[in-house]
């Protein structure tokens, strides 16, 4: 029999995925209604990756994310209200309205930021792992990135450095087969990003990113390896992006059959039926859905009611205050 998660972990994974999905669906709707300024890149369709990985992480573990970062924020323990307020550009947001969708961050949760520069999070997660190794901390670094990022120098330089120094870091490639609008076959000849691990003599693992339990166990192994001094892992999750690169993208470039198959391969629906087949009562799942919806409703209300940032604070927090006399 295949390895199975406990019912407790199973429900945790389910709740994380539901939280991400419902948050993103609400955000899409609010964006369309003009409530959220800027760009919007949603994580719908990729929930099982963030959920399966982050369920293995502690608050101390450090992650870096991408421009498609809400899912990682939520999976790392982000609150809906502060996240929603940030997307609204409100003073009560996680980042006082300075970061928004593409830069949402909460260092106290080990979330070192969504990042609007493709592949820029990899060196930073590598550095977080370096601190852990250097200062003897227990945490691991985890970098989420896409298949597109795996062609950037930052990807290769990070994997090489982590490999040479045996750093406690996990590189999670969310391979949704599109670098923005460019299909995989146009941007890399390889089919599996994971094989690039060979070049750095580190484990490269491929997992079905729509199977949250599989992601969970693969990530568990990689995180445990990192934490116990076994060094970095490149974990590639094959996943699918349901919506456009961002909300202004109607995905005209996508093959209809491929897209339909992606929609039908819904990680949440699949996991729901697994949980039911393992004896989890439907009411339990309903309860989770209701709870998440209530929280979401309150979060939207919170964001709506929250004050805008004071323009007088536009230049606050550029520098950390420092007095030489205080040394």
């Amino acid at each position: 029999m295949e390895k199975q998660v406990s019912q407790e972990v199973g429900l945790q994974l389910y709740e994380l995925m539901v939280r991400i999905r419902k948050f993103e669906e609400a955000v899409v709707n609010l964006f369309a209604r003009g409530k959220i300024p800027g760009f919007l890149h949603t994580y719908i369709g990729e929930e099982a990756v963030a959920a399966g990985v982050c369920a293995n992480l502690t608050l101390e573990d450090k992650i870096t994310s991408t421009h498609r970062g809400h899912g990682h924020m939520v999976a790392k323990g982000g609150r809906f209200d502060k996240a929603m307020a940030e997307l609204y550009g409100k003073a009560t947001g996680y980042n006082k309205g300075k970061g928004g969708s593409m830069h949402i961050a909460e260092p106290d949760l080990g979330m070192l930021g969504a990042n609007a520069i493709v592949a820029a999070g990899l060196p930073i997660a590598t550095g977080a792992a370096l601190t852990a190794q250097y200062l003897g901390k227990d945490w691991v670094g985890v970098a989420f990135f896409g298949d597109g990022a795996s062609n950037e120098g930052a990807f290769h330089e990070s994997l090489n450095l982590a490999s040479v120094w045996n750093l406690p870091v996990v590189y999670v490639c969310e391979n949704n087969e599109f670098a923005e609008s460019t299909p995989r076959w146009q941007h890399q000849k390889i089919k599996d990003v994971a094989i690039r691990a060979q070049a750095y003599d580190i484990p490269g693992v491929i997992v079905d990113g729509n199977d949250v339990e599989a992601v969970y166990f693969c990530a568990k192994e990689a995180v445990e390896r990192a934490r116990s001094g076994g060094g970095p892992t490149l974990l590639e999750a094959k996943t699918t992006r349901w919506r456009g690169h961002h909300e202004a993208d109607n995905q005209s470039y996508r093959d209809k059959a491929e897209f339909q198959a992606a929609l039908e391969n819904d990680a949440i629906v699949k996991w729901e039926s697994v949980l039911l087949s393992r004896g989890v009562p439907q009411e339990k799942l309903d309860e989770i859905n209701n709870r998440v919806e209530q929280e979401l409703k309150a979060a939207i209300e919170f964001a709506e009611q929250s004050p805008l940032p004071d323009p007088a604070d536009a230049r606050a927090d550029i520098y950390t205050p420092f007095e030489l006399e205080a040394i």
């Binding site: 260092p107 070192l112 520069i117 370096l130 200062l135 450095l161």
Partner: protein, 327 residues
């Protein structure tokens, strides 16, 4: 006071800061056994070991990015960019990540990162090992930039940089490494944003950075014979910039020459001239002169390089122009 070279002063600052704080480590290319390409870190490996004097692959983005992530999570790395020309390979991590993380995150973390970057020409090192790129970084809010012009400031500014909780770039001048100067025996710090009045004078204010300070002093001596008195000011840090000291001097002399080795267009002289032009317009008796390299890549042949780079004669010529104009 001890007398030591600029190089030894930098090394002393590194040694003291490594001794002072376990969170401090050095990271860079060939900095360990080899002692750095310019031998600044020579001997530190024996004193502090490979954990704290960390040789990296030739991987500027990898190493600076790791330093950024490490600084964001509690360590205090001092990174060396072997030649500041190599910044190009790593720019994203400097100007998009290190400089902006605190702001984007609403002030939720600090990046106590020091980057040492040897700069400057006059060594026939040609266009990829000779540049002065400080203006690039002065343009980016979130960074601090120090440009020591002598051994005393090399030590004191670097020590301050390491204590500062913000990302600081220290541009060390390669041609000054062997120049000796007086440095106090006891630990000391040089504050940022406080210009040094290097030479008091009454006729023309010369604001000079890095090795143009020495060239300006040479010019001052030569001009003294002609009865022209130069006031030489070294800002020491260009971010923050002590514009007040400059303005006060210009109000006294009514004439300003700004001197830097970087090329003219878009150099820091343009910014200083603009600020002085705006704030001391009524006091100016002549157009502000900029002494700078001619707009060109740095050539290889010594005779060509000399043609491009500014020296004391260029300062003298500029001073004569403002004196003639003012009548």
């Amino acid at each position: 006071m001890a007398v030591m070279t600029y190089r030894e002063a930098v090394r002393q600052a590194l040694r003291e800061e490594l001794q002072n704080d376990e969170r401090v480590y050095l990271i860079g290319e060939d900095i360990a056994e080899f002692g750095g390409s310019l031998k600044v870190t020579l001997g530190l490996l024996d004193e502090f070991g490979p954990k704290r004097i960390r040789n990296t692959p030739i991987s500027e983005m990898g190493l600076l990015g790791a330093a950024v992530g490490s600084a964001a999570t509690g360590a205090r790395p001092i990174a060396e960019v072997m030649y500041s020309d190599f910044f190009g390979m790593a720019m994203d991590q400097v100007f998009n990540q290190a400089a902006k993380m605190r702001y984007m995150f609403g002030g939720k973390l600090s990046i106590p990162l020091t980057i040492r970057a040897p700069m400057g020409g006059r060594r026939s090192a040609a266009a990829h090992h000779s540049q002065c790129l400080e203006a690039w970084f002065m343009h980016i809010p979130g960074l601090k930039i120090a440009m020591p012009a002598n051994a005393y400031d090399a030590k004191g500014l670097l020590k301050t940089a390491v204590r500062d909780p913000n990302p600081v770039i220290v541009f060390e001048n390669k041609m000054l490494y062997n120049v000796k100067g007086e440095v106090p025996e006891e630990p000391f710090f040089v504050p940022f944003g406080v210009a040094k009045l290097v030479r008091e004078g009454s006729d023309v204010t010369v604001v000079a950075v890095s090795d143009m300070v020495d060239y300006s002093l040479k010019a001052a001596e030569a001009l003294e014979a002609d009865g022209i008195s130069l006031e030489v000011i070294d800002p020491r840090t260009i971010a923050p910039l002590d514009i007040e000291t400059i303005i006060q001097s210009v109000k006294k002399t009514g004439k300003l020459v700004v001197a830097h080795e970087a090329n003219l267009t878009g150099g820091i002289g343009a910014e200083i001239a603009a600020q002085v032009g705006y704030r001391a317009f009524d006091y100016l008796q002549a157009p502000i002169e900029r002494v700078a390299a001619k707009d060109s890549p740095i050539p290889f042949a010594p005779i060509l390089e000399k043609e491009i780079l500014p020296d004391d004669q260029d300062v003298i010529d500029a001073v004569h122009r403002v004196m003639d104009y003012a009548g």
